[in-house]
Symmetry: C2
Subunit: 154 residues, 2 copies
């Protein structure tokens, strides 16, 4: 399902939350971005559009949206948080470009389900949740890097 600003607003009202200009600004920034963003980055971008938003409100809005499942927390190699808008409902995973932060959502194809089933059988654990994140280089950054290499050959 494609998430829109209207849809987010609808879901907020549905749950009794108010639709404020700050929340709108945060949602706007997240939805237009195909990159993982830190609270700080979201704050700065939102500030450019709604000059009186505060960082604290960004945090609070992110918590709310995360709890509603409209936004997902991402982690870099070193554990730092980032956020990205997310298709609500289904469990999805993220492929993040380590160079520019570009994000692609994907489902587990079915491989994941197999793996988790094997894992349960082997360990006796009951699996309740999982978390897969993949890092890579997006086509654009790959190209850029190849050009850089060519430069330095001279």
């Amino acid at each position: 399902m494609e998430l829109t600003e209207q849809e987010v607003a609808r879901r907020l009202r549905e749950r009794g939350y108010r639709v404020t200009s700050s929340r709108r600004a945060v949602v706007h920034v997240l939805l237009r971005s195909a990159h993982r963003l830190t609270p700080q980055e979201i704050y700065e971008q939102a500030k450019a559009e709604d000059s009186k938003i505060g960082l604290v409100t960004v945090y609070r809005t992110l918590d709310l949206l995360t709890e509603m499942g409209l936004v997902k927390r991402l982690h870099g190699r070193e554990g730092c948080h980032g956020y990205a808008a997310s298709a609500p409902g289904e469990h999805r995973h993220y492929l993040v470009c380590t160079e520019c932060g570009a994000v692609v959502e994907f489902d587990g194809y079915g491989e994941i389900e197999n793996l988790l089933k094997k894992l349960e059988a082997e360990t006796g654990f009951v699996v309740t949740d999982h978390w897969l994140q993949v890092f890579g280089l997006c086509p654009a950054c790959r190209l850029k890097r190849r050009e850089g290499a060519r430069e330095s050959e001279r």
Copy 2:
């Protein structure tokens, strides 16, 4: 490969690092534990054996061991760090009990490789790394919880 205190000591010396009692204590705590431990927990346990270790040294030692690949950083649902000793070399994943922190290492069976291959084909990204963590309930905690449920039925 099974990691031992001797093996860690050897690898430290090999790289020109010194084997100190603080480092020994941290390694000892990590190796004997089948649970994910926070720096604070490691500090407390190590303190019980080497009364003059400091929390700062635990952090520094964990950084070193992580960088050497002998210890892996884990993350809880909310992104908090924990550490566990790890088979060096191979890429492995972790199944963590959300109740008691018990950790089981596993490889990706092959499902992961399949998945990453499909992902590369579909997105044009080059995948450089990935990170899978699974959460569940270990057999012991499952049992405990079942007993708890029986209690409350009365």
